[in-house]
């Protein structure tokens, strides 16, 4: 008897090992890198990765009036290189174009590019080196964790920054102290923005009067979108009739979906990743819940995870859709001609836009007659980003870049729909 119990207990211990094993799953992108604080040692020794200077006329004197120096920082090698290279190439593509047309106010823009290898300490080192070289503004960083580290250095000196890819709210806003980093802007969405957009879309375009939400409990991305969706629904008068959660790794959603079906909503908001989304939609159709499902950019790729019939009419929002407009097509053609299609992704486009916004601001700053790299010049650039952004018709935002109180862009989203088993561009919204 005792032996039997002991055996079962051993089994339970083994069981907990398995449970742990089951939870080890895909590493999600987004918050990579540690939130490195000030790193004085790194700043002093300055042995960053390969410097890649390019474009424009080369001058040895950093204070030269002949050029305006702009930094581009990101992971150009390693695991995240595909993001970093997209950002570097996208921005360089536009800046080269401006230089070819004679530059700004007769001055060429000189790009100072550094590879941070996706590491926060390297990013801070490289940034310090760039400042020493006399940059006026920075396009970057790329990963959220790296960007937060660089913001810690750039905010005290008021150096204008535009990131094309860091989506965390903490990049432009310190929630602990209530400080908005006035020098930091971005041309990508923040995550919750997608929730607001889809709520707006459900109410205005789909005419939804009621909605339900199903999201993964404990997942920042999923819950962030769901919260934003619910808040916006409340503001728009859309009744959220059911809110259901599930745990990571769950495959059976029928109980939650049965509750949702009982509440009979007009739409279901499902801001999760594509594998779960596929299972959820399949099971919803099975129990007779036929309303459209809406999601965020985590849906991209869902077509392989549920049948065409079940997914028909589902919608999700994204920041970028290949070939969605003439501007996007022209950009893609230029990009592919110069860099090939390997690194052509959403961040290449948002980075191209970041360069456009920055160049518009630099034009404004040139009007002040200040010296590039000086404090007054940088202030003028920051003011210029906010004032000129709305009139910059970017690749991913034809309506321009209007920044909110937290320096996040209020731009159009791409609405994608699934039809005939394909994910296709539906409209800008």
């Amino acid at each position: 008897m005792k032996k039997a119990i002991a055996l079962v207990l051993v089994a339970c211990m083994a069981a907990s090992m398995f449970a742990g094993c089951g939870m080890v799953s895909s590493l999600l992108p987004g918050g990579a890198g540690d939130k490195a604080t000030d790193n004085p040692a790194a700043g002093a020794t300055a042995t960053p990765a390969g410097t890649e200077t390019s474009a424009g006329t080369q001058t040895d004197n950093p204070a030269s009036t002949g050029t305006i120096k702009v930094g581009i920082l990101g992971p150009h090698t390693g695991e995240y290189a595909v993001y970093g290279l997209a950002v570097k190439n996208g921005a360089t593509l536009y800046i080269d174009k401006v230089n070819a047309e004679g530059g700004i106010n007769g001055k060429q823009i000189e790009i100072v590019a550094y590879d941070n290898k996706g590491d926060s300490a390297e990013a801070v080192t490289a940034f310090t080196k760039m400042v020493d070289e006399g940059i006026t503004a920075l396009i970057g960083d790329v990963l959220t964790g790296n960007t937060i580290a660089v913001v810690g250095e750039a905010y005290p000196i008021g150096l204008p920054m535009i990131t094309a890819s860091a989506t965390a709210a903490a990049v432009t806003y310190n929630a602990d102290t209530g400080t908005v980093y006035s020098n930091v802007f971005r041309t990508c969405f923040i995550d919750p923005f997608q929730g607001e957009k889809m709520a707006q879309y459900a109410a205005d375009v789909l005419g939804a009067k009621s909605a339900a939400v199903i999201c993964e409990t404990g997942n920042d991305y999923s819950e962030g979108l769901a919260d934003a969706f619910r808040e916006k629904c409340a503001a728009l008068g859309v009744n959220v009739v059911a809110s259901e959660g599930y745990s990571k790794g769950d495959v059976d959603f029928k109980s939650q979906l049965t509750n949702i079906a009982a509440a009979a909503p007009d739409v279901v908001f499902c801001p999760n990743y594509y594998e779960d989304d596929g299972l959820i939609v399949t099971q919803a159709r099975e129990i007779g819940l036929a309303v459209p499902f809406l999601g965020g950019d985590g849906w991209a790729g869902v077509k392989d995870y549920a049948s065409a019939e079940d997914l028909e009419g589902c919608l999700y929002c994204s920041a970028y859709a290949p070939g969605s407009s003439d501007a996007v097509k022209a950009f893609e053609a230029d990009y592919t001609a110069k860099y090939g299609a390997d690194s052509l992704n959403m961040f290449a486009a948002t980075s191209y836009d970041a360069a456009m916004v920055l160049v518009a601001a630099l034009k404004k700053a040139e009007e002040t007659g200040e010296q590039p790299g000086s404090e007054a010049y940088m202030q003028a650039v920051i003011a210029g980003i906010a004032s000129e952004g709305p009139s910059v018709a970017g690749v991913t935002s034809a309506a321009g870049y209007t920044f909110d109180a937290y320096n996040n862009p209020m731009k159009d989203a791409v609405i994608m729909t699934v039809t005939g088993g394909e994910e296709v561009f539906k409209q800008m919204y």
């Binding site: 090992m17 799953s25 745990s247 109980s255 939650q256 049965t258």
Partner: protein, 295 residues
Amino acid sequence: MSLLETIFRQILNGLQSGSIYALVALGYSMVYGIITLLNFAHGDIIMVGAYLAWLAMARLALNPIFAVLVAVLGCTILGMAIEKVAYKPLRGSPRISLLITAIGVSYFLENAAQMIFGASSQSIPAIIKLRAITLGGVQIPGTALVTLLTAGASMAVLTILVNHTRMGRAMRAVSEDTGAAQLMGVNISTTISFTFALGSALAGIGSVLYSCAYPQANPTMGAMLGLKAFVAAVLGGIGSLPGAMVGGFAIGLAEAFVSAVGLSAWKDGVVFAILIVVLLVRPTGLLGKPMHEKV
């Protein structure tokens, strides 16, 4: 949808997932009954079955009926092979060695699948397409109906097999007293092999039903499923076949109930709480016979 209908549907949801747990739990219980081994690789056999179904349908474009055959046969052969290669050489060893070997086999299968098929999920095409059936004003989804009927039929066949055939009698004899059974001329090796084949075939059927309900194959999908089926087997009384069925349905219903009242984050927690309570209050489970240590 009326409240009554919602409750009925939730019960149906619970029975559907419960019947899969029951099929897997039967495999656990049978193997434990005959060689007192907790075969932790059992859940991973389901995973292999799901991948076989995926291979047959998505890659080889076979008819769903062949996919079902491939999955069930594949699981049966795999189960017997594991017994021959990993467990048979250890038959005289302490039980703990067998248990650890079972865990090793489980890890081996998971990692092999990850190496061959990759870590991300593979989508399995629909195996059965059935319209929902309306019964007394309540819609019953096609897959739920098929799952319940198939599981019920499998359990009926198993019961007949164990209680009314020569092989079944041998199984019961070995489980009661291996030594005495051997003296009476029962071929122990064949009987054990047959038990593994039977348990794995049920796992194969379980994997097909699982693939119908949750059409994705993933290298680690068997881990949690296996654990919950193990809890079901313990709840019903490990070694008892009716107990495994009752336990499976009870776990499925408990999960559906917990999710239905909005506590989905506690779903797994409740299942393992049941395990702890059973071990504390009634270690022999609902239908298990009190175990006497053989001298």
